[in-house]
Subunit: 511 residues, 2 copies
Amino acid sequence: MKVKRLYIEAGGKPIVLLNKDDADDLGVRALGRVRLRANGHERTAIVNTTSKVIEKGVVGVYEEVASRLNLEDGSVVDVRLSEPPRSIFFIREKLKGKKLTYSEIYEIVKDVVEGNLSEVEISAFVTALHTFGLDLDEATNLSIAMVEVGETLDLGDILVVDKHSIGGVPGDKTSLVAVPTVAAAGLTIPKTSSRAITSAAGTADRAEVLMPVSLDLDEIRSVVLKTGGCLVWGGALHLSPADDIFVQIEYPLAIDPLLLPSIMSKKKAVNAKMLVIDIPTGRGTKVKTIGEANALAKDFIELGRRLGIQTGCAVTYGEQPVGYAVGPALEAREALETLMGSNRAVDLVSKAANIAGVLFKMAGVGDAETALRLIRSGKSEKKFREIIAAQGGDPDVKPDDIPIGDKTYEVRAKRRGRVLWIDNGRLVEVARAAGAPKDKGAGILLNKKIGEHVEEGELLYTIYSESSVKLQNAIELVEARDFMGIGRSMDMLIQFIAEPPVYKRRFELER
Amino acid sequence: MKVKRLYIEAGGKPIVLLNKDDADDLGVRALGRVRLRANGHERTAIVNTTSKVIEKGVVGVYEEVASRLNLEDGSVVDVRLSEPPRSIFFIREKLKGKKLTYSEIYEIVKDVVEGNLSEVEISAFVTALHTFGLDLDEATNLSIAMVEVGETLDLGDILVVDKHSIGGVPGDKTSLVAVPTVAAAGLTIPKTSSRAITSAAGTADRAEVLMPVSLDLDEIRSVVLKTGGCLVWGGALHLSPADDIFVQIEYPLAIDPLLLPSIMSKKKAVNAKMLVIDIPTGRGTKVKTIGEANALAKDFIELGRRLGIQTGCAVTYGEQPVGYAVGPALEAREALETLMGSNRAVDLVSKAANIAGVLFKMAGVGDAETALRLIRSGKSEKKFREIIAAQGGDPDVKPDDIPIGDKTYEVRAKRRGRVLWIDNGRLVEVARAAGAPKDKGAGILLNKKIGEHVEEGELLYTIYSESSVKLQNAIELVEARDFMGIGRSMDMLIQFIAEPPVYKRRFELER
C-alpha cells in the first residue's frame, strides 16, 4: 500500500489510518493490529479507520510509525493482519498468578518496546505485577531484559559509580552537589536524571538552568571521560526504553511495581558497579516508616547483588523540602551557592555529603567527612564548573546570573509560633501554579522550615513567578489552603481534613 | 476553538488533535485529557498532537467526538485541561485490594461509558477485579450500575423471561429453536444475542440469515408485543454500554471477571423476571468440570436473587458442536429443518426442549416434555415464522431457499473406526478460514459425531465456502491438523501436541 504521512503524534503509539474497505478486506477492526513491512523493517501498528480522509490502497501513518519504518509520502509498505504476539500468552499466565521465566519476561519487554502490545495488555501486565507482586527472580529477570532491549553506556574498564533517589521530596537538589563531589574524589559518576512530571522540578530541570542536559550517549561519554561526571537528562537515551513506557502506565494508576527493576536496569545500562540509593522517608513521601525503608533497602541491595552492582541505601528525612528553594532556577541557585561555600542549606550539605560518603566508603576512598571537606574546600565547586563547561554551559556562572521570576508574593506569619508542618504535596501544587517546572524562574523560596521560631508578621516564604496571572493562581491556592502550618506545639489539631487525603496524594516516580 | 472534523474513527475512543503550541499552552501532552464543551454537552477527550495538519486555534475532532458533541466543521468548542476523574481514585483503591461501594462502582461505570477513563485505567480495573476477585456485593452493584447507565426495554406489566448461554460450543443454534418454543407456550422472551467475534457464528449471525436482526428498542418492543418473542442483535441497543467497553478489554486478556454482572445487567435491562442460563461444560469449553459448573451456577442464582431475577442454570454437554452444522447459513438451515420436524439433530432438540423446560417449570406452564410437544407439533415452527415475519423476514422460507457456499470439499475417513474426539477450537479455525461468519454461506457440515462408527472412505464432514481461495485455506488447515479424530478405542494416543495447547485456546465471551 502507498504511504501518506499524517503528521499526527499519538504520544508514542504506532497508529495507522486505513480506509474502512481496506480494513474490512484485511479483516481488521479499529484498534486491531496490523503488521507493516518496509525498508527491511517490520513493525506492528494499531488501526484507526476512516471512509473519507484516506482512499483505498493508501495507508495513513502517524509520526511514530513513519519514524520507525523510515516512511515518506509515497513509500510502499506491506500491510497484513497481525497475529497477536506470543507475549500476550505470557501476560495471561501472569494474570493467573504464574511466575514468569526470563525468556517469557524478555519477550514481553521486547514487545512493549517494539509497540507490539496494546495499552490494555501492558496495563494488565503492570497491574498483575502490582497485585500478585514480583519476586526477586522476576525483578532480576525484568532488570536484565530491560537492559537487553535498550542502549548502554560503555566507559571501558573505568570503575563506574552512581546515585539515585526514589524521589518524593520537593527541592531535592542533592545530585547537583553530590555528583561533582564524587567526581572530585576521582570517581566516575555518569548521572542521568529525569525531568519533572508532577513535581516542581526534576534534577534534569535544575541542571538545565546551568548547562545543556540533552546530550546523546557519545557526548555523555566524552564529558564523563573528561571530567569524571555529568548531569544529563536520561529521558531520550533509551537506556531503558521499556521503562519509559511502563512508567506512563504506572503513573495514572499511582502504582509502581516496577520501581526496583526500573531503577536498577538504568544503573546496569551505564555499567555502574557501585550504587547508593537515597530513600526519603516520612509522612508525605513514598516510604512512610523506617521499617518500610529497611525492607525496600534490603530488596535493592539483593537485586543489586544479583546484577553485579554493589548497592548501599541511605534512608533520609523527607518530611519537608531539602534546602529552602523549590523550582528549577531557585534550586540551581541554591545548589551553586552551597557549592560556593554557603552553609544556609545545612540539610542539603549534610545529605549530599552523606550520599557521596556511602560511595566513598564502598570505593575505599574516604567517607562523609571526606565529602564534606571536598565541598567546603571548593573542590566540588571547581568540578561542578568543569562539568558545566564540558556540557556546554558557562563555567563562570554566578548565582546572581541565574534569572528568577520577577513577579513575587510574600507570605508572612499571622501569629507567633513555630513551623509545625509543611505539606509537600500542597507546596508543589503552589509552585506548579506559579509556573514551575516549565517556567524555570518560577517557584518558592522558603524563609522558615519545620521547627523554626517565627514572630507575627515575619516572612515565611516568597512565591516567584514569570507571569502575574500564574502568580495570582498560586496566591489563590495558598489563600484557600496554605502548605505551611504555624502554631504553638500544644495545638494538637494540625489540619482539618474534609476529604480523604489519600485522594490528594501524588508521587512522582523518579527513575 | 474552531472545530475541524477529521473523519477518523478510533474504535470508540474520543480523540482530538491539537496543534503542539495549543497543547503546550493548555499544559497537556499527547495522550493527556482535555475537557470539551459545546452545544450544552461536556465530554472528555484524549489528545494527539501535530505541528502540521492543524493550525493554532483549531481542534481536529475524530468521529467519536464529533458525534457525541454534535460538532461540524467550524463549530466552536471550549477546550480546557481536564482534571483526572474521581473514579481513578476508586480504581486505585481497588488496586490496593479494597472492596468498592455502590457509589464508587457507579462512578467508575459512568466514566467508562462517558469516555472519561483511558484504556490503561479500565484495563487496570478489569485486571484488579480478575486478580482480587469480586464478591457478590460488588457483582450486584456492578450489575445495577451497568443497567443504570444504559437503555432499558420496558414491556409494562408483562412477565418477561429470558435465556442465555455462556458460550464456547460451536454450532450452538439452541436459541433459534428454544425462543419460538418459549413464545409458543405464551411466555414473553425478548432475546438479544451477540455476533461472532472469534467463533464461526453468533446467534445474531444465524438469525440474520432468516430475518433482519438490527432492530432498535421500539421495533423490538413492537415485535415482542405482537409475537411474544424476538431474535435480535443486542450489540447496538446500549442495554449495557459499559459492558460493550469492558468486553473489549477482557477479550485480548482472555479474562472475564465481569462475566456475571455483564450477563445479568443485560437481563435486568430487559426486565427479565425468570432466566435460564446454559453452562456448557467439558474439555474445550470455558467450564471444564461439573464442580466448576455448579459453583458458577450458584453464583448466577444468588446474583439473580439479589437483582430480582429468578434464575435457573442448565449444565450441558459441550465437548462437540450442537447438531451437525457450523456456520451462519448452515446452522439457520439446520434449525429450520429441526423446527419443521427433522429429528436428525437429536442433541439440538433435546437441548432446546430442556432449556425451554426450565423456564416452563419456573412459570408453572409445564416442563421439558411440554417443550418437546411444542416442537414436534409444529407450534414452535409456526411461532418462529411469526417472529421472522414481524422482524421483516420471509415467513415462508424453506430450508432449501437458504443459500449455502457452492465451493465444497469433502473429508473422508482414512480408516475404519469411531469418532473419538472433535477439537472444537480447530473446527472453528477451519470454518473461519472458509469464510464464516462474514460469508454467511461458509462453514462445516458434519456427517459424523463423537462415538459414531465410520467405515474407511466414508464421509466425515463437508467444508462449504463462497470463495475457492478461502476453501483452499480451510483445506490446508485440515490437512495440517484435522479437527476430528478417528480411531479404535484402544488407541490411547489421542493427539500429538508439540506446542502447549493452552496457548491455542480462545473463548468467545458471549454476553
